[in-house]
């Protein structure tokens, strides 16, 4: 019996990253801009998508992949607005991975689309590690969650290209210091964009839609 030592440097998630790269190629071929939405459960991801669809359905073709532990509720809400949606049910798993995105594209006619939103499983931790072939990670934080969340769960806020602070209409009713939070997020991620929105009053929604449109334009030019 001999002992062999093999020295390598291989990414532990190489297989998963390879899948994500293939997806990125596929999205490049179809000219689809892809956002990976990550937040706590209940921060308003699906509601923001509904609002976005309401505003942008006439200017671009959208599609949605929903990740949840159980039920088709979110995909049903999107389909009710006339946008194709695929529901991934994770049966307890805490994040989506590239394999599930591949399956979603095989089972549901989502492409071609101008914009694909992937709404990850509600969780501020695990989805951060997994590349789904997206162009941008978007973090959502609702004002009712409390203003210490970015410093308590820093990984997603340091990696997200855009952070959307949601439910701004509730600011007068909750102890959420907007300046402190935007300061924390900028310190975690000096190059990130921060938006403050309310799907209820429409505050910030124009800026959000403009941002999507400009990123789509940039992707088409590249």
């Amino acid at each position: 019996m001999t002992k062999k030592l093999v020295t390598i440097r291989r990414k532990a998630l190489a297989a998963s990253e390879e899948r994500a790269d293939k997806l990125r190629g596929r999205f490049a071929d179809s000219g689809t801009l892809v956002f990976n939405l990550i937040s706590s459960p209940g921060s308003g991801k699906t509601t923001l998508l509904e609002t976005t669809i309401g505003r942008m359905a006439e200017v671009c073709k959208m599609a949605v992949i929903e990740g949840d532990v159980a039920t088709e509720r979110d995909a049903d809400r999107i389909r009710a607005m006339g946008v194709p949606a695929h529901q991934v049910l994770t049966s307890g798993a805490c994040h989506l991975d590239a394999r599930q995105i591949e399956t979603a594209l095989e089972t549901t006619d989502l492409l071609p689309a101008d914009v694909l939103f992937i709404e990850n499983v509600g969780n501020l931790i695990c989805p951060t590690t997994y590349d789904l072939g997206e162009d941008f990670k978007i973090a959502l934080l609702s004002v009712t969650e409390g203003d210490d969340k970015p410093i308590k769960y820093p990984a997603i806020f340091s990696r997200a290209d855009i952070t959307v602070i949601t439910k701004s209409d509730l600011l007068p009713y909750v102890p959420f210091d907007l300046d402190t939070v935007t300061g924390h997020i900028s310190s975690l991620n000096p190059s990130g964009v921060i938006l403050v929105v309310s799907s209820t009053t429409g505050e910030g929604i124009d800026l959000w839609c403009d941002l999507i449109a400009s990123r789509l334009e940039a992707k088409r030019r590249s």
Binding site: K4, L5, T7, L13, A15, S16, G92, A155, S187
Partner: protein
């Protein structure tokens, strides 16, 4: 090797922390490396985990134990090198240590954005296995 195939199914309903999925991928990588260099029983694997990788070393070890238990590589060791991020302030021209528990990328002295290198490692570095072959 019959142990490998059902892994995904085996843990499909119990992966409620991402360290479990990462442990499975590390095991797959180890098996791949052994296959590329012969055959044998896995003895140990050394990996690098960066402090900004959002991976908890203890949970990863716990996941690893669950992956190898009752299989041909039961008892194989997972050794973790925990890697610090290298933070530098371009304005002060100095390395700045990260204060415990904080992910801020702003220089504590002058407020400029820090340049961060490394700290996001999640790499398999060394695989050791026992073999009958020369």
């Amino acid at each position: 090797m019959g142990h490998l195939k059902p892994l995904w199914l085996r843990f499909r309903y119990t992966i409620s922390m991402h360290e479990m999925g990462i442990a499975i991928e590390i095991y797959r990588t180890c098996r791949e490396v052994v296959r590329e260099h012969g055959q044998g029983r896995l003895q140990s694997v050394r990996i690098a985990v960066g402090e900004l990788a959002a991976v908890e070393p203890d949970l990863l070890k716990f996941g690893w134990e669950a992956v190898i238990v009752d299989g041909p590589d039961e008892g194989a060791e997972l050794e973790i090198d925990f890697c610090r991020a290298d933070q530098r302030c371009p304005s002060c021209g100095e390395a700045k240590e990260r204060s415990e528990g904080s992910w801020f990328r702003i220089c504590p002295d002058c407020g400029a954005p820090l340049e961060v290198r490394g700290g996001d490692e999640l790499d398999v570095l060394e695989v050791t296995f026992e073999t009958d072959e020369d």
